[in-house]
């Protein structure tokens, strides 16, 4: 005991000295570096905090970033609208109009909006649970997402999917099986490479899914075949109700690709997020093969609607993140401090977002429930089905 007691202070002291500089995740540490241009589409330079990125076997992205006034306002509008949409889903769920599963991305808006701002229509995205913002940004509609959650005909999968199953032409869906979308993303990237398209696939997963075996299978194949695939880990610090430290031996997710280089990025500052995506996309389409990109972010709500989100973390922690590192408030501060727009202008955007989402909620609610005939459609390609399928009860047989 005596020897242990002697050891303890030394161990404690060592823990205080970080071996590497930690990533910082504040949402408002970017500095303006020049005078603001009058023209909204004219780029100006800002400088990110020097600890916005960390790199593994590669260099960090440039800290000096060119942005435009219009671009910042668009990001603000999109993030606000996405948060409004998720809040509407939350309310619809609590009023029992949405049933089943529902996973909200409130707090993680900078990842979806930042990603979309730096990729093209030819790039492909596939993700898992928190997929609603991606579906809208990648060509879907808010009505389509809310309609899907409500199980209505207007839903993006005609009510057949629900929360994790919404798709657009350039968005290969959310996914309900932890980690299953990652090798699928590798296959999508292979097709892009095979078809010689200068485009990248962003295969997204969470810190929880990062411990799935098939994620490593996908890493290996992607590096082996040099696929234009960016594996994006949205590290919101909790895989369901287990913190990253309690689930992963190595919580530096950007270093887990072995020979695949990685970037860790501040996922709360949207300018940093967008810069990291720009770097990753250029990496992938320049033929350098796959890249791991970890966004350190935070979800304000529980994992799903049945999780209050406060049994495995303190209310104070959530409150601290909301008040000090919120991506929308951070961007708001840049916009106001740099003089991009006034508080009034932003309030107008807030109102627009609310109106857009409110209208979508009404439209989705007004949509009819899915047609009974669609219970049996989309199982096999039309014309190749079996002669009949069994229905909900003994006498209900659907003949094709």
């Amino acid at each position: 005991m005596a020897s242990l007691a002697r050891l303890r202070p030394r161990l404690a002291a060592r823990r205080l000295i970080p071996s590497v500089r930690a990533l910082q995740t504040s949402a408002d540490s970017t500095q303006l570096h020049q005078d603001l241009p009058d023209d909204g589409s004219k780029p100006f330079t800002v400088k990110l905090h020097e600890d916005s990125f960390r790199a593994y076997h590669t260099d960090t992205p440039e800290l000096e970033v060119e942005v435009t006034k219009d671009g910042l306002l668009k990001m603000y509008s999109q993030m606000t609208t996405m948060r409004r949409m998720e809040q509407a889903a939350d309310a619809l769920y609590k009023s029992k109009l949405i049933r089943g599963f529902c996973h909200l991305a409130i707090g993680q808006e900078a990842v979806a909006v930042g990603l979309e701002s730096e990729i093209t229509k030819d790039d492909k995205v596939i993700t898992a649970y928190r997929c609603h913002p991606f579906a809208v940004l990648r060509g879907g509609t808010i009505t389509g997402v809310l309609g899907e959650l409500l199980g209505r005909q207007v839903g993006m999968s005609n009510g057949k999917g629900g929360s994790m199953h919404i798709f657009t032409e350039r968005f290969f869906g959310g996914n309900g099986i932890v980690g299953a979308q990652v090798p699928v993303g590798a296959g999508i990237a292979f097709a892009q490479k095979y078809l010689e398209k200068p485009a990248a696939t962003f295969a997204m997963y969470g810190d929880g899914a990062s411990n799935q075996g098939q994620v490593f299978e996908a890493f290996n194949m992607a590096k082996l075949w040099n696929l234009p695939c960016v594996f994006v880990c949205e590290n919101n610090k909790y895989g369901m109700g287990t913190s990253a430290e309690r689930s992963s031996a190595n919580t530096e997710y950007f270093t887990r690709g072995d020979k695949i280089p990685g970037i860790q990025a501040n996922g709360m500052d949207i300018i940093a997020t967008a810069q990291a995506v720009k770097y990753a996309r250029e990496w992938a389409i320049s033929g350098k093969g796959p890249l791991l990109l970890e966004f350190v972010t935070y979800r304000y709500g529980g994992h799903s609607m049945s999780d209050p989100g406060t049994t495995y973390r303190t209310r104070e922690e959530v409150q601290r993140m909301r008040s000090t590192q919120d991506p929308i408030r951070g961007l708001q501060r840049y916009i106001e401090e740099w003089g991009v727009a006034t508080e009034e202008d932003l309030k107008k955007l807030d109102k627009e977002a609310k109106a857009t989402v409110d209208a979508a909620v009404e439209e989705a609610k007004a949509s009819p429930e899915p047609f009974i005939k669609d219970l049996w459609s989309d199982i096999y390609y039309p014309g190749t089905e079996p002669p009949y399928m069994r229905g909900r009860e003994r006498d209900e047989i659907h003949h094709y």
């Binding site: 099986i177 699928v184 590798a186 299978e217 199982i379």
Partner: protein, 411 residues
């Protein structure tokens, strides 16, 4: 009718004695010839003419005119692995977006099914994957979701279990859960299946039954080279994901004259190999040949078995059906047959509990209850792992099929 009560083990013993005494005595072959085996099976089409007249064959080569024309077409002697290779070669030749991948396929694969394809079509299109089945399936699904033709190989169907999640949750449901926006119809998973005599626990299983509940998938099992080529081409071009299971013992042993042209054999249709009116015998893959042997034994039992096969049953006409597509299976053909014969015996290598036979039996009894003259009988592997030394006892053989046929006929 009297029910002869006997035990299959006893018959097996008698047959073994019979074989032992034959092996030591130098006797001419029996007057009626030996029992049919894969080598002498009448099910196999060994002439050009019979090959070109394979029922249901659909010619797919351009400018072939009327789909029934057979004049001028050529055939070549092939076994199953050569026929499978031939099908993939045609698929790669005609479809630039087709790729073949799997463990060691660039070197020909363990069963030689991809011999020379990498040299012929390039390493970009025929390539080896790491040993990661779940990854292979997921990768293939992503590829197919982009509209490519993905022809993946899982080296043994016993190894398909790590990929089970991807196949059941992703491949089968991609179309449905996206409301028809995406599909992985371009995906075909080829995998060797069934027993080989000495494969043991992890090389002789038949996992088709595990996929029965996965609506959206198709499962196909061919019995011969002609069938393998035609069904594989149909599977590759089918707009749904297909798991194509190739009975591994037939790779080399089943030999036919196979048409060299591009043709398909439609999925979802069973084939009646032997017409009959007294009992319906449904099977697929390797046991097709055991069934043929059993029917021959029923008609002309060897001396050692004769006491156990009542004379009145020897003229029974048994209808032999090869199911070919296991999911979705051809209910109509099987039901139509059972409604005529009133008796059904199902033979498969997978174990009985929860096997495909259970599904067929349940559906037939619900649709033809009043027509049945005997309980539906299943001849299957035992509900046990495929133990190496027990494999021959575990897999249904001709004697057990004969036993079930006699009992069902005399019920």
């Amino acid at each position: 009718m009297l029910t002869p009560h006997f035990h299959p083990a006893r018959i097996a013993r008698r047959l073994a004695e019979l074989q032992r005494c034959q092996s030591t005595a130098v006797e001419p072959p029996p007057a009626g010839g030996h029992l049919p085996s894969i080598a002498t099976s009448k099910v196999l089409r060994t002439t050009r003419d019979s090959s070109l007249r394979t029922p249901g064959i659909q010619w797919k080569d351009e400018g072939s005119g009327a789909p029934t024309i057979v004049g001028g077409r050529e055939t070549r002697k092939m076994n199953v692995y050569q026929a499978v290779r031939d099908a993939m070669s045609i698929a790669l030749l005609k479809d630039d977006n087709a790729v073949v991948f799997g463990e060691d396929v660039a070197f020909g694969g363990v069963f030689r099914c991809t011999m020379g394809l990498a040299e012929e079509f390039g390493r970009e299109r025929v390539f080896n994957t790491p040993l990661s089945e779940q990854g292979i399936a997921g990768f293939g699904i992503g590829l197919a979701a982009m509209g490519q033709t993905a022809i993946a190989e899982i080296q043994f169907s016993d190894y398909i279990f790590p990929a089970f999640d991807q196949l059941v949750n992703e491949a089968a449901k991609y179309r449905y859960r996206s409301g028809g926006q995406f599909n992985v119809g371009g995906l075909t998973i080829r995998t060797p299946t069934m027993s080989v005599g000495h494969g043991g626990l992890y090389h002789s299983q038949s996992p088709e039954g595990f996929f029965m509940g996965a609506a959206g998938l198709k499962i196909v099992i061919p019995r011969s080279p002609i069938q393998a080529k035609g069904l594989l081409l149909a599977s590759i071009r089918d707009p749904n994901p297909v798991i194509f299971m190739e009975p591994k013992i037939l790779y080399r042993s089943a030999i036919e004259q196979v048409p060299i042209d591009d043709y398909e054999i439609p999925l979802g249709r069973a084939e009646t190999l032997v017409p009959g009116s007294d009992l319906t015998l449904v099977t697929w893959g390797t046991p097709v040949y055991h069934c043929e042997t059993a029917l021959s034994m029923l008609a002309e039992p060897p001396a050692a078995l004769a006491p156990h096969v009542p004379a009145a049953l020897r003229s029974a006409k048994v209808e032999l059906i090869d199911l070919r597509t296991i999911l979705p299976w051809d209910v109509e053909t099987v039901l139509e047959s059972v409604q005529r014969t009133g008796r059904l015996v199902i033979v498969h290598e997978a174990s009985k509990t929860g096997g495909v036979g259970a599904e067929i039996a349940a559906e037939v009894q619900s649709k033809a209850f009043l027509k049945l003259n005997a309980p539906v009988r299943r001849v299957t592997g035992w509900d046990a792992p495929v133990g190496l030394v027990y494999e021959k006892f575990l897999i249904p053989d001709a004697i057990r099929i004969l036993d079930a046929t006699v009992e069902t006929l005399s019920y």
